[in-house]
Amino acid sequence: MSAQAAGTTAAGTTTGTAVGTGRIGESAVRPDGVLKVTGEFAYASDLWMEDMIWGVTLRSPHPHARIRSVDIGPALATPGVYAVLLGDDVPGRNAFGLEHDDQPVLAADVVRYQGEPVALVAADHPEIARQAAKKIVVDYEPLPRVTDGRRALDSEAPKVHPDGNLVRHLKIRRGDSEATAPVVVELDFEVGMQDQAFLGPESGLAVPAEDGGVDLYVATQWLHVDQRQICQALGMPPEKVRLSLSGVGGAFGGREDLSMHVHACLLALHIGKPVKMVYNREESFFGHVHRHPAYLHYEYGAQPDGRLVYGKASIVFDGGAYASSTAAVVGNGGTMGLGPYRFPNVQVDCFGVYTNNPPCGAMRGFGCVQAAFAHEAMMDALADRVGVDRIAIRQLNGMTEGEQNITGQVIDSAAPVSELLQIVHDLPLPAPVAGEPDLRAMPGGVSNTTHGESVVRGIGYAVTYKNVAFSEGFDDYSTARVRLETVAGEPLVTVHTAAAEVGQGLITVEQQICRTELGVDRVVVHPKDTSVGSGGSTSASRQTYVTGGAIKAACEAVRRVVLERAAASTGQAADSLRLEGGKVVSLGGEVVAGLADVVGDRPVEETVEWRHRPTEPVHPETGQGRAHVQYAFSAHRAVVDVDTELGLVKVVALDTAQDVGRALNPSAVVGQIHGGSAQGMGLALMEEILVSDGQVKNPSFTDYLIPTILDMPPMQVQVLEYADPHAPYGVRGVGEPPAISSGPAVAAAIRQATGKPLRRVPIRPEHIADC
């Protein structure tokens, strides 16, 4: 059975046309681009079946409470309602989670955050389901709550889980713990809770199957980790729980955890009909994890010339009510917590804690974002203290290739900290405001709050580094199946991976790699599903590297078979032949045979499971170890105009330089850098989920603001390509670094303009204005 988006494409068929051009290094256009501009592309929320039923979720209004009783009678009696389900209706284990399965599918006895799912309702119209859900009577006994991450480890703090509130404590110790220095800078920082705010809401369609299993069409970042968790909750083997990726409207980490996946499957299996669930924006704010709020205390010791002697940091990540990926976020926030600088002596303590706040997990930049606001402000503070230029102090202390970072790992490919800073420093600056300014370019915009009076310009810099792919010994792999066949007399390649396309352009790169390796123009990207092995997560900037590596390897395996066939039929040695332009050619370029003829009616198909270089867990007492696969570096320069009376900020320019190893698709690389820069700027200036005593105050796009096209400045982007000799084609992950260094640059620019310390982000008008 296949689901259809109303009048359009089949569910899961989210890729697009086969014929295209573009090999690696070219800006090939997206195969799904035309479908997306015409509205034909089938996102998860567009899926539709004739007899489908709508599911909705009832969520807890309390941040911490015991469920005394639930009465579903009035809801179930509502005309049009098919089912009302509770935690007791979960047939398998009522628990899921990425790293620890500590989160109930439906809360059975205790709710630990506001918005925790308690019940499900299915009805033939979404509004009937919503109204029926309101008739469910839940008797809650509120419990004491802990909602300040800094208090979570106090002995008197209420326990969120029976084992206490510590998720992870990472210790990093290096050099002399008693080291002293003539210059000491010590500061505290705070980072608010950011939302991924992907535009496509959580959604999917679960279809009960004749074999008693279920087919789920869903928007996600990692089909196989979803499948594992769904199977556990349903008590079913993987062959009965089949997932297909439907169109994904952005992700940014927020789709790494389950949302409606198990819920829709439960309802569909219970009713025996397809069930669709689509969150609205308010529910979306409650339906996925957020970026961890963080509290950071830093102390640096340095020589009078600015050379760093020691770095100490204590960082607390508020993980909220469930673990999600908090342990890994702590790993990143700690191991990269002092930024891309040389520290002889190090003492870092990084904590992830449970509270009764909304659960936090993956978001673009993953632990490094919060730390970067601190380590970059520290470098500025140190520069000012010793009287050294802010670029110069970073270049003086910046990491270089061949050096060890604070976990003792040798940086064994390019580490162009100094060069990236120099590039952004040397880029042309925007013109100063002159004459009667265009209001649209002023802080406050067409609100007409200033014509330039009280407006001060500031410039800020930041540089960061970020790990690529999964770390600390994780078995991180991807699977690719590549098939070469002859169709209508022409060679055709089909590439099949389960790696999620979420908008970043992986499917374009998949085609480009196949075209390059096999010399074939027509490449079909097979719909993404669990009928092929795991592609790993679309996160950690890893897919071009890891799934790209798997596809390259699978193509090489196919090519070997084809060239051996060609060698056998032509009498030439296989290693003297290559594939180009749909032909088998000699090394001299002479056509030996048509590829379609060599393949004939014997398709060649190879499946490869590919791994990057292994990493290792860090030492439990010292944090030393080869924790990460690869590091990616970026720098930003922000120019801001600040209305110092009203505290309004206009970012005038946001320029960046980044080493991408090798740009497989230069246009897509720049697009990632633009988008990441915008998200980093958003956190610096406006994006925060306001949580008051465990209650979310702004779950809407009216009150949670993300940058608009009026907020964004023009961006100059300089891309460096220092190939990483350890990575396929030399690639370096691209997606995350720009989201890390842009925000600290904006914050630094506002500090420079205002002279205020501004140790918390987002920076609000009331932090700037003298009021």
Binding site: A6, K36, V37, G39, W48, V248, R281, R440, Q679
Partner: protein, 160 residues
Amino acid sequence: MRITTTVNGEQREVDDVWEGESLLYVLRERMGLPGSKNACEQGECGSCTVMLDGVPVCACLVAAGQAQGREVLTVEGLAEPDALHPVQTAFVDAGAVQCGFCTPGLVVAAADLLRQSPRPSDPEIREALAGNLCRCTGYEKILDAVRLAADRLAGEEVAR
């Protein structure tokens, strides 16, 4: 209730519409036109932008009954069948599409901008598209796409 409206030049009639339904819901769930997107359903993101009697509106904020007897143009009807509007082509060529969830609303809004102002300045483009949120692109390539579409449309004018 029954709603009769002209959508993309074709008269459409739908029955059993609940009074609380939005034009967006009717388009997506009752007429088989899911091109208009449901990112916020509160008029903040512009992903459901359609033309109602020639004026761009958020379909999520229009009650279905308000569309009675009126003309609606959605992204599905922006170009002739099997063709692309120059704005659509420019979005693909300029790399202005990533996840694409904002794209249908943006191409409808951008096409309306270029109809009214064939050679908009950058501040004009920014002001016209300020009601359309995009989370992927940082808007740089969206600006590129609108400029490219304006250039191409101007080229067509000259060719004529």
